[in-house]
């Protein structure tokens, strides 16, 4: 899975810390999400997408494993 969190964060001028505070997680969680090292719960994915004014599918991109 890869994410567009970093790109969308930049669009809305949000730091990792600010985004983390808005969705109620630690900054480290946002770091791992951006690196694709952590799969969020549905609720967290929804909250992040809402803050970034996008749909979940636009923020989190699941790639088929070949």
């Amino acid at each position: 899975m890869r994410t567009r969190i970093k790109e969308l964060r930049a669009r809305y001028d949000l730091t990792q810390e600010e985004l983390a505070k808005k969705v109620g997680v630690r900054r480290e969680t946002i770091v791992f999400l951006e690196k694709g090292k952590y799969n969020p719960s549905l609720k967290l994915a929804y909250d992040i997408a809402k803050v970034l004014k996008s749909n979940i599918e636009e923020v989190f991109i699941f790639e088929e494993e070949s």
């Binding site: 997680v25 630690r26 969680t29």
Partner: protein, 132 residues
Amino acid sequence: MKTKDILYRNLFIGIFFILGGMLWLSLYYENLLGKLLSGFFIIFGIFISINSYRKWKRGEELEAPTDERSELNLLRASRAGFLFLYLSISLLFALFGLRLINEIIFTALMGPVFAVASVLFFLSFYRYEKAG
């Protein structure tokens, strides 16, 4: 947990350490190590209490908030520690039952077993937090 509840909890822990240190001092005042340990407990208790109160007064976070990722890592880490504890104590009981170790050794090994399980837990948690 509300901020004020965390403050009360930290103050209680601080007072517990202070009283524990004073009790330790009263029991082991002739022993240098006892005096040092009791001094450490008292200072530690005072530090926790004052630090928590100061942070609360300034409106700062009293403890690092846990989120879903760190809670998951805590669960995974506790599995490692618990498994070691469970297997070790089972082994000790088996050895004790077979009379391969006596009561003194059985009791003496309990402390190290708990210590190793705790270390395993902290190391696992650190590893999982690093990995994501």
